[in-house]
């Protein structure tokens, strides 16, 4: 009887240990695989938009910044890539009535060499970069809350493989006020003259 109890105790303990150790081994194995596999283009690049004024009075110029954070180990082509066949990073706003685009400002990329292009440096963005658009809220801009849809297009790679080019929607939310209304400059860390466009 005592022997049988010991047998079941040992069997139960062993089963538990097998399940636990197997689970840990499986989790470790899966993590190791994930680390080596390229991720999706949407996973490696995160974009957030900011507006320079709150509210934006009719008749005023303002800026929209799209801050793009690129995962470590990845890069994307700059707006002016090294070769014409490479897909440039672009911002394209779908402007609602009452807004005009004055200019789009892209930071300069960095020339970097990669294992797949050891002799020819590529002009790329990595880390965090800020793309900006200067716009005007015209007299006809609708008063109140407005969304400006923007499309960010990019093509990212790591040191051995590239992810397909993608177009990602990024929208900017702003409040439009009457002409002459007082407006506050917001996000000085992004829009002040000294703010860096690349980190």
């Amino acid at each position: 009887m005592r022997l049988a109890r010991k047998f079941w105790y040992l069997s139960g303990l062993c089963t538990l240990m097998v399940i636990l150790s197997g689970g840990i081994a499986l989790a470790t194995h899966a993590t190791a695989q994930d680390a080596s596999a390229p991720k999706s283009a949407l996973e490696v690049v995160k974009a957030h938009s900011y507006v320079s004024l709150d509210p934006v009075p009719r008749g005023k110029d303002f800026q929209i910044a799209v801050v793009v954070n690129i995962e470590s180990g990845y890069h994307m082509n700059s707006h002016k890539p090294s070769d014409s066949y490479l897909i440039a990073t672009t911002l394209t706003p779908q402007l609602p009535a009452g807004f005009t685009l004055v200019d789009t400002m892209y930071p300069a990329g960095r020339n970097e060499k990669f294992p797949f292009s050891p002799d020819k440096p590529l002009n790329v963005y990595s880390g965090s970069v800020t793309l900006k658009m200067k716009l005007t809220a015209q007299d006809a801009a609708p008063i109140g809350s407005t969304t400006i849809p923007i499309t960010l297009r990019y093509q990212a790679c790591n040191n051995s493989a590239c992810l397909p080019p993608v177009k990602v929607p990024v929208s900017a939310q702003l409040q439009v006020a009457a002409a002459g209304a007082s407006a506050h400059a917001v996000h000085p860390e992004i829009f002040s003259a000294g703010a860096s466009q690349e980190k």
Partner: protein, 182 residues
Amino acid sequence: MNKVVRLLLPVALCLMATVGFSGCKGGASSGGGTQPSALADEPNVTFKDLQGNSVPLSGFKGKVLLVNFWGTWCEPCRGEIPILIRLQQNYSGKGFTLLGVATNDDVSAVGPFVHNTQFNVDGKQETMNYPIVMGSDDISTKFGGLLGMPTSYLINRDGKIVKRYIGSLNEAQIVKDVESQL
């Protein structure tokens, strides 16, 4: 004796379980390629060549085939083209062929690229010397979805996928793998 058994048995079982699980194969890797635990059948897909003619994958049965997903916009894909040209030069007479599948690309960009772009292969300027077809999202999905470009699949004479390579090919490894199938 009882104490020894109590201590050693769980440890032994842990070791067995760990070894068993860590021996798992499959999934994604880069460079040297990944061998599936069981050989998968090649997908039933039909490509279009640069002239718009249908090219069924099954038409290559009987040959060892390396299907290379690439794009004119993809720098690492361009970087490995000299390796692919050399493979085709050395093994096309021995029952092997390459098939380049241009992906996320337009035929108007691919055609001129294939015909005009010169690659330095062992000191000689060469153009792509293997068949090129156009890919699509549907075709990529039927191959299991592309995690990155370039991605290549080595298919044996029976139409079974032997190995998948994500990222730039390692020339010594791919030569060894192709030769093992011939």
